[in-house]
Amino acid sequence: MIRFESVTKRYEGGHEALREVSLELHNGEFAFLTGHSGAGKSTLLKLIALIERPTRGLVLVEGRNIGRLKPRQVPEHRRKIGIVFQDNKLMEDRPAFDNVALPLVIAGFNKREIARRTRAALDQVGLLDKERSTPRHLSTGEQQRVGIARAVASRPRLLIADEPTGNLDPELSLDIMNLFRRFNEVGVTTLIATHDLNLLEQLDYRRIELADGEVIDQGNIS
């Protein structure tokens, strides 16, 4: 599903966020991306979503070298991936329903299908009764779940999440992780960046560990 071959990412100004990173994530796998803050977790996810481009090396998603995609091919690539952001990136003044529906609107589904899939996604994260609430009126955990519902609404085969439990207490964090596990169980390849060690100890999955932009542990493929 995802393959990195000697990928280096150097930002403008010279900071090297990733150095010669090689890794592979198989179809249907569930893996954590760990490491101290600044280790390069976010950069690695950004490369997958083509928010950043590699300086050197190959990034392959479903066998396609995405570093070669032209700017106008980027949107199509992003539509295939479900992304959960650390800061949610929700539209603050729109109800939960609109937020979850957005990727479906972008993908061009008709109105009925949008409503059906949006409600299904909200149902999966347990927020069906909050569809008219704006993020302002939702708790942090609920906001995060809206973000997850949005990421899975268009049923992507790949789900990536950047610190999805960053601001949550342990109990809520475990809830969120169980949500991701449920999606993984139906075949969605899932990669979650987190530095929440307590949480990781409760979950027995592959861990890819980064330190200073290099992979120091590939983890065991589960």
């Binding site: 992003r78 957005l102 949005r150």
Partner: protein
């Protein structure tokens, strides 16, 4: 087929959403639309003014008659003889003789100066010939004819009144060019106005645009709502301009009617014709769309998720 229907329904939705967005902010929208309306109404009303001027002058252009004033004391028989001489020329269609007595009578009844005339011992007016040139007569030929007639015995003055008509025409041509210049400048102003409004709109919705791009929205998807907003600005601005033109017409028609009544009538103020109506609306739409396009192409590309 399915994709086409889908594409159309997507545009329709964008179009409706854009209008709803505008109507949700009546004050801001009203101000922008008023600026567009006024900017469009200026060249349009100038154009109508020139148009009306041309009709008035056109009415006078056919009046190419010229007058030949004979010397005071010329016998009426001599006047008739000169008239016959003129009428015999190919360049002249017809000649009418206005005897001095008739002219005096006309003058007396028409201008309210009978007392002044009564105090005079003799008729101060000469016999007059009014000649109508043939259609084919060129102005050069008429000028030559004027010289010739002036030299005839008994002729005092020859007056060809078509010159000022030509001058007025020249003024109208000048004004017409002025309309074009005004139109180009004001269209530019509208494009800048819409562009700036859309630019602010883009800034206000920066987060939303960034989120859309993160979720895989194409540039077209992000661009479309703003283009439709620009389009609606243009449409509503155009309608405002047309309403202003209509109001101006209603205000001006009665005094113009009175004025032309004083000049013997026959003139009607030209209202809005279809061509102008369509042109104003089309200009509005083009300006709105153009302004939105210029803003969108400059500012949207700059919003890239980091």
């Amino acid at each position: 087929m399915k994709t086409l229907t889908h594409y159309l329904s997507l545009h329709l939705r964008n179009c409706a959403t854009a209008l709803a967005d505008l109507l949700a902010q009546p004050v801001a929208t009203g101000l922008t639309v008023a600026v567009i309306g006024v900017a469009l109404v200026l060249p349009a009303s100038l154009h109508l003014l020139v148009q009306n001027g041309r009709v008035v002058v056109g009415g006078w252009e056919s009046v190419r008659d010229f007058s030949v004033y004979l010397k005071i004391g010329t016998a009426l028989e001599n006047a008739t003889a000169i008239a016959d001489d003129l009428a015999a020329r190919e360049i002249i269609d017809s000649v009418e003789v206005i005897p001095a007595d008739d002219a005096l009578e006309q003058f007396r009844s028409g201008f309210g100066v009978s007392e002044l005339l009564d105090s005079m011992n003799s008729n101060p007016l000469p016999h007059t010939l009014v000649a109508r040139p043939a259609e084919v007569a060129t102005s050069a030929a008429l000028t030559a004819l004027e010289q010739e007639i002036r030299a005839l015995p008994g002729v005092d003055q020859v007056r060809i009144d078509t010159e000022w008509v030509a001058r007025l025409n020249a003024i109208l041509d000048f004004l017409r060019r002025g309309v074009w210049i005004a139109a180009v400048m004001l269209v530019g102003a509208v494009i800048v106005t819409v562009g700036n409004t859309i630019r602010l709109d883009i800034q206000n919705r920066r987060d939303e645009i960034e989120i859309c791009k993160l979720l895989g929205a194409s540039n077209g998807f992000v661009r479309r709502p703003f283009l439709y907003i620009g389009l609606w600005y243009g449409v509503i601005g155009g309608i405002v301009a047309l309403l202003l033109l209509g109001a101006g017409y209603l205000l001006l028609a009665p005094p113009v009617q009175r004025l032309t009544g004083l000049y013997g009538g026959g003139l009607e103020l030209l209202g809005l014709d279809w061509v102008t109506l369509v042109a104003v609306l089309a200009a509005g739409i083009l300006c709105g769309w153009g302004g939105a396009w210029s803003a969108v192409s400059r500012h949207l590309a700059a919003i890239e998720p980091k």
